[in-house]
Symmetry: D2
Subunit: 358 residues, 4 copies
């Protein structure tokens, strides 16, 4: 076992490249996993553009499929060689937040809560776009992959599927509900799937990219709206007897889509927000129904933990969720420098990339 490995390292604006770095060490509650497949996320693109701050020298990436290489002495029930996924968010299971059921805002054993505490990999510790990575709180986060599922079929449960589907869960979509999803990038497409999985009767997907709108239909949308051709709010009202949707999902993170959610949702409806807002968002008086419309605005960070991973992989296994179809491009880890601009600039019709280490 060599002491060094390849890893994608953040070095500055639009500069993430492969370096040879030390292999991670395994503490008593950790595991080390050899990565087989990973991917690039919208958040990684923010890092690449220096829009989201991580320290210089940080190994990036938070969506791994791999094989257990080493196990801490306190970890039980796993074997070296087990195929696993690890979620982007790695709850400790023991802190104030985890014990309240707010796993994603985990403060860890250090009880150092802070913004988005549960996101460690490729953020507050080294990530997974590498040959190996360390899994913190391994007992809570190693999820074995069911036999027969390929890396590409399960890679997206680690982040985008968990995040997207959580929008529907947080909104508590009920059988018979109408749901509108603004933006059909990978997260929005997963939100569309989530609304379908929870029993929405009518799902309206909004975007301007025809390829993504086509994919939205495959993921479960009943109606797609190209907002360059049609007013999505008017369309939602027309399809809901003028009331508005029971649930409006924001999957982009800008004022326009946020505001459209407020406009498109019915009184006492739920705005379920997934977008990462780089700028302040404002609630106009009337759209906010003067603050007394019984409107909820709920925000959600990707749910993690091994049981979340298990649940979503079982959905894939039993044919409820086809995530593999989101992969449009393949790269080797050594080519990741090329993958970043292609994915970040949405070139060549890219939806998601698969990056293999082999």
């Amino acid at each position: 076992m060599p002491d060094t490995m390849r890893a994608a390292v953040f070095r500055g604006k639009e500069d993430i490249h492969i370096e040879e770095v030390a292999k991670p060490k395994c503490g008593p509650t950790d595991a080390v996993v050899r990565v087989t497949t990973t991917t690039i996320c919208g958040t990684d693109s923010h890092i690449w553009r220096e829009e989201y701050p991580v320290e210089n020298g940080r190994v990036v990436g938070h969506e791994p499929v791999g094989v257990i290489e080493e196990l801490g002495e306190a970890v039980m029930g796993y074997e070296v060689g087990d195929r696993v996924v690890v979620g982007a968010i790695t709850p400790c299971g023991a802190c104030y937040f985890c014990q309240h059921g707010d796993f994603s805002q985990c403060a860890g054993y250090e009880d150092q809560w802070g913004i988005i505490g549960g996101w460690r990999l490729g953020n507050s510790m080294d990530g997974v776009q590498a040959d190996y990575f360390r899994v913190p709180y391994a007992q809570a986060n190693l999820a074995k992959i069911p036999d027969g599922l390929s890396d590409e079929e399960v890679i997206f449960v680690t982040d985008i599927a968990s995040t997207g589907i959580s929008a529907a869960e947080t909104a508590n979509v009920r059988i018979g509900d109408s749901v509108v999803v603004f933006a059909q990038g990978p997260i929005g497409l997963s939100a569309t799937a989530g609304a379908r999985l929870m029993g929405a009767a009518l799902i309206i997907a909004v975007d301007s990219n025809p390829t993504r709108l086509e994919m939205a239909k495959k993921m479960g949308a009943d109606v797609v709206v190209n907002f360059k051709e049609e007013d999505p709010v008017a369309k939602v009202k027309a399809l809901t007897d003028g009331r508005g949707a029971d649930v409006a999902i924001e999957a982009l993170g800008i004022q326009e889509t946020f505001e459209n959610c407020l406009k498109a949702v019915r009184p006492a409806g739920v705005v379920s927000s997934l977008g990462v807002y780089g700028d302040k968002v404002t609630m106009p008086v009337e759209e906010f129904v003067y603050g007394i419309g019984d409107i909820d605005i709920r925000t959600t960070l990707c749910p993690g933990g091994k049981e979340r991973m298990r649940a979503l992989m079982s959905m894939v296994q039993n044919g409820r969720l086809n995530l593999g179809q989101l992969v449009t491009h393949h790269f080797k880890l050594d080519q990741i420098e090329d993958a970043y601009p292609l994915f970040s600039n949405q070139e060549d019709g890219v939806l998601k990339v698969a990056i293999t280490t082999g």
Copy 2:
């Protein structure tokens, strides 16, 4: 029975005065109630200042205690002469919203939903600052008063207590939670009481008025903060190990208190908003945790319906809730012209006024 009666009529900016108007008629699903005690609400002050639009000639007021005078042919289980309260919000029980459990946004038999649809009295139909008023959907809205309770003990269940307490309910305050309540007007004081009733372990009440802060202690606050003397957000953090409160309640309706709620709440906490916002509100990026802090912002309009009234009156009856102590001033209906400026301008240490017709 005379065909006319006294009523407080809106006639323009700062002009609400008593006129002689026609007594209301009773349809098949209505009741007519003779008012014994009513009060003025902050919303009435908005009408008086012409900040909230109602039509010229509208009889105002939405918080009544009285006696049943007449019953529609379809109404069952009541007798003329029964002492009753009727909530400010009068759900029909039959529309899309009511059948979803969103009674406050009731669209009525006409299925004409709109902004704050369930608020009819003194808004979309004539109100209760009068000798008599018509109760729409009487079967769902007439709540008999238990023996032994005075008008003043129950008058505030119709609006401020129902509204204030709902902030804690909507936020799902749990045993052991920390709760901060921004603003201690009548609504905020009721929210403080609500947090206490639901089992919060630590309740922090914020205002600048020493009398109101004193009353906040009587209603259940553990700690009071005069924001002119102390930074309330820093105080909340200091009292919660730096995390922030589990629940932050907004009871005013301005940017500053709204923003302070976002600052004072912990990750994955709930901002429960009661304020009526006359202007847009903005979520700064960091306070909103970039939209991924698992923060919920929940807004609530006063819950109505006879069962809500029954539940709150039983809390009064069994000594859980002392609402009578909020009355600081008494007026006769004929003096209502004097009561409006006193209450609206918060003169003479007023908290709430009781207005009697007798």
Copy 3:
């Protein structure tokens, strides 16, 4: 308009036949509906066998599709001639129970609560196996049928689909859950569909009738178990890593299936019970985990109300739910004497019958 009509009348054990009876009258909050299609329910079979008591002379039946014939003066938003369904349970929207959200246990305007109060049609008032029936609380219960849906496509939303799906809703089935459904009669098949609609990852359907097990697959089951050939509890354990199912649904109403639910559910799981128990049921100590297994046993009566009907019809309309496939036999109202024994004795592979008045 003739003053009499045909109606299926209960006259004693195994004696329900067509008689000429008075057409119902329409009160101010009622409607009268001309029936086009109805069906026979398991509960009707209990009445036919004299196992469930209704008064001699009662017109039976509680699952109607029809056309509005007459409207009470207080009812708004409908026209004579509108095609409607009315749920088996007809909540008033105004009583203690309705205002608590417990619509199915509605006590009505009379506030006469009692066992299964919300079930009126064909039980405490005349039912729908007739040319016409009276709709109580019409404003809350008339549900317009979307264009393009046939009587047979929507008839089952009135009872079995609403009931069956509610088992999954009451159990709060979550994405990724495992669910076992004991008994695949019409109600159990609908429960299977409900589990699928709410996002269960693994659905195990248990029965001994091969035709019903085949239909279970069409309604959403992943695995079917013929309990005459295989131990269903062992099978559930084998498919869930030995834990047991997250949710076990009882759709029959006997000790054996109830007990199997307790055996098959995991610690802290939910037993969701739909069965109508004619005899006491017992919880053995170990299966009940000594009362400290965090097990919930939840029972549910069919949800009613026009909004429930709308929600389920929209599921049919958008292809989420195929209820028409449950119809195996057709009868005319005049032939209902033949339909009762056939359906009640499960002859000729019957699943559900459609009875038309035309």
Copy 4:
């Protein structure tokens, strides 16, 4: 530090006595705590009577207050010498059950789920009626005691208060609800307190012991019923307009009280069960409303984890909960042989005993 210590060891029927045993060792995720105060629980009495099986030689007891003596290498944020409580139930935070929020049914790192998996201390591992005990999953279970609280003020948060209060939480008691609590032993008294803390308007406590009924009033009951003098079910009906209570809590574990809960609860109400049933329980048909009364029967095992302990201690600290008043007798650890029969046989008016090691 000596290698042996005193411990109360189970040796057979009515034989628990002090022996000198090896001091526990501390693994990487463990802590060792020096006990200062402990108590005897009803479950310990079952062990003493050989009604609940633990292995011969087991150190018993599961309710500790103490001081950290040793910390595993993976445990962070604590110091040797910190005063702590540890709950009777010690969730790992990482297993299937914990990640579903079902902490009490924790399967541990071994993923060995089983009956009441989360109860380890004095059950599946050595307990706390000793000079020292080992804390499993210490990061999730060490709860620091706020300054100023005595051992006796906090000892009961470890089990009876957490258990009793959970009955109200599991039942989701709402503001204005009526609640009846059958049996006013230490658990039932805590349930009475829990109902009060969550906002019940009317609390009816049932027992036959006048001292316990007196204490019930101190813990929050409005009405007490001595079932030897009065029919408690009839009383509940009389106090709730004939409907029955919204919530009925069972705090004993026998057929009679269980059945009375079914009789005393309203349609669509909740039976919240805490009792440990030594024998099967049966639901009579009518009391169970034929299985279609929308009745829920919810069972709850004591919630554990450090955050639960923190929450309850903060309730004590801010005067919401007076648990110290439940202590009627004091013993030294060496006298525990005397304490067992006194407590188990309810001699000398005992409610709870405090056992100190000093």
